[in-house]
């Protein structure tokens, strides 16, 4: 089976450097962050810019939005973490994670993720642990907890599970760690890759986790968590086909399709159940970030997604009907 995806349109004013993160929000706008230090918000139908924040001095490396599309969390290369109120376009929280506070050694944040239940966010850094911080305006950035993986490899990416109970982190060495937020314990470790895992994606029911790695593959994991403590079976499938690093991944809102962007300049769509690629889309540069439209597609349509890559352009793609 193969699906066709068509290029719908591009953003109206490209970023001046690579797009390092995109997120399609529940209110059908798209937020993009770039190496040029800017965050832009776009209308998905037209590609017109809605808001553009004044650019930061250094690039923005991580972006996450809440399920309602009201708040966007982003982090810069040197570790300045900010919270944006999407509707007004105002920054409502700022935290300098690189600044020394008390006795703690400064560890700049790298990848950040908002807790879908609100109130906190998670951040990874160089020491291989996940720190939990307040996401409330008044106390933004205050450290609440530190979850350690036991290893000190660079934490490349972190993402909360959609139900807000767990957070997954991937490391430069290829491990995935899943922590339980309530107990602050490490639940499971997966070593499905031997090279850096650049991105993770949860399925909406928090039962599946896909990892995207520099070893050119994606791995599908069963991460079901039962209260009795027995974790899911782990790696269940590998998606191969990219000829270079896989940079980004996302799972569709109906859990059927996975998306991957690669430095081989293509985007691939995978049928999760069939464990096979159903579409390969040629882009013009390395595809750093991909994001499905969160609204479940109409019956018969494979859905729509947005991508951002090396050339600074945010692109919208839509499925061409049932394949």
């Amino acid at each position: 089976m193969s699906l066709a995806f068509l290029h719908a349109h591009d953003c109206s004013e490209p970023h001046t450097d690579s797009v390092w993160g995109v997120a399609w929000t529940a209110t059908d706008s798209v937020i993009s962050i770039s190496a040029d230090g800017s965050l832009k918000q776009w209308d998905s139908t037209s590609g017109q810019a809605l808001h553009t924040l004044p650019p930061h001095t250094l690039g923005l490396v991580s972006l996450d939005v809440d399920p309602a599309g009201k708040q966007a969390l982003y982090n810069s290369l040197e570790g300045l973490t900010c919270l944006l109120d999407v509707d007004s376009g105002r920054v409502v929280g700022r935290y300098e994670s690189y600044a020394r506070s008390g006795n703690d050694a400064a560890e700049p944040a790298w990848s950040v993720s908002l807790n879908p239940k609100g109130g906190t966010y998670a951040a990874t850094g160089g020491s291989g642990s996940v720190s939990i911080h307040s996401a409330e305006s008044a106390t933004f950035g205050e450290r609440r907890a530190t979850l350690t993986s036991g290893r000190s490899k660079f934490g490349m990416y972190c993402k909360h599970s959609p139900d807000g109970t767990r957070v997954a982190m991937s490391s430069e060495a290829g491990q995935i760690y899943i922590f339980d937020l309530e107990s602050e314990k490490l639940l499971s470790t997966y070593t499905s890759h031997a090279m850096t895992i650049r991105s993770l994606a949860w399925s909406p029911d928090a039962q599946l986790l896909i990892s995207a790695s520099e070893d050119k593959r994606l791995t599908l994991h069963d991460v079901r968590y039962s209260p009795s403590g027995k974790p899911g079976s782990g790696a269940v499938a590998t998606f191969t086909g990219h000829s270079s690093w896989v940079l980004s991944t996302d799972i569709s809102p109906d859990s059927r399709l996975a998306l991957s962007g690669s430095s081989d300049k293509t985007i691939k769509v995978w049928d999760i159940g069939a464990r096979a690629a159903v579409s390969t889309i040629q882009d013009t540069g390395e595809v750093w970030s991909v994001s499905w439209r969160p609204r479940p597609p109409q019956h018969g349509s494979p859905g729509a997604f947005v991508s951002g890559g090396e050339d600074g352009v945010v692109r919208w793609w839509r499925g061409a009907g049932a394949g």
């Binding site: 190496a35 490396v61 660079f154 000829s243 040629q282 013009t284």
Partner: protein
Amino acid sequence: MRYKMNFDILEDDDWTGQVRDVKDPFDPQASGHDILMLDLDDDELAAMNSENDAMFEDLVGENASQADPMQDDFDQIDPVAGLENIAIGFFEQLSTAFPDAEYHSHRKRERNPISISLVDRTKTAKEDGASTMKTVSFPQNTKRGSSRSTAQVLRIIDLMHEALHEEVPITKRDMYYRDVSLFKTQSIVNKYVDDLAATIGVGRGDLNVRASSKGLFSGAGLTIHLHSGETLYGNDSESTLIPVADDIEKFEMRDGLSWVLIVEKEAVFQTLARLSFSKHPCLPGHGIIITGKGYPDIATRQLVCTLADNLPVIIPMIALVDGDAFGIDIMSVYKFGSSSMSHERETLTAPRLQWAGVFGSELAQFGVERDSMLALTKHDEKKARTLLSRPELPATWRRELQHMIFTRRKAEIEVLANAKPLVNDLGFIRPSSSNNQIVTPPVSLPSPENALTRYLVHKLSVAIAGRAAPTLV
């Protein structure tokens, strides 16, 4: 009928190949060895014993003569043979240790490590003239991997052998950069180079390992007249040491000088000199190549500054440094100066210097795969972040440093050597929209021999043609 145990690996006390009487010949466990029971008569037994003795002599005797530098006073020690003997000795041990594929040794203690014997330079020679030896064993029970030390020694032997064979001198620093992930630290290379030299019984220089010295230049276009009356003539295929500015009376440039190239690493400089790159036919005119061997000393910076101040503006001066934070920092020293010498900035900086590469972001165009780039170390990252925090950092530098931190890879010049050799008519890689590269054979102009020269010809051509390339800052 006597039974002999044929030891596939000889234990410490069995170097002489003695026959051990076995209490119960049918119980292999009695002596604790895996035993291959042979049915031999006395003649065959004696033959086997002498065979073992000869093998022992070969191994130990060979090392013994290498270990004694006093032995071959009147014979010229052939350094190449010395290197080869050590390596061959190791491989012989390896092959006798595992003569057949089915050999398994269940007990750790009976697996004798295979070893390379090196002179222990920290101990003085014994009374009989023989030196104390230390051994590098395989396998080793260390955290770093059982074969690492042996691999390091063999790699150094390989590099020295190549240096002698190719007649291209190599420095210890150069060796380290050839395989950073194997050696881990410079001091390991230093140690083993001197150990091997002592073991073979020659000086380090006889192994074609040169000591690093100060800045060098090459190119027949530059002649330096010193106050002392001496004249230093630049040479297209050899290097000339850069003298201190105070000693220099005047410079002389030959007509037709069209470019100046500064390279970070001496190894790259020597490669270019060997290829007479300063008079490369693909370039419109001859040029001068300079290296400061890493962070440049004052003399090198003075030369670059003087050239920058006096050469006509149409002559580009470009720098080729590693695409890592240190390369960029070195560029910055040439161009903007160092904090320690800021009081002498006017005579030491060359603001017109342009950064031509290596850029991590463009390597894909030159056929280099991401995976062949080195991983960023914590040290690199810290340096890169420090550079990024500098005010007034040029935009291209910022972009490259960010790209480096985001991909967690750095682009060293050596990685160009791994580039896929696809060229189009002028020796460039033409990026194509699909992943299938289009190859067209060279037309009229001779194509540069290897990836490094191809890359530099491209960069210099672009610089000379008008300095409008967006990659140059």
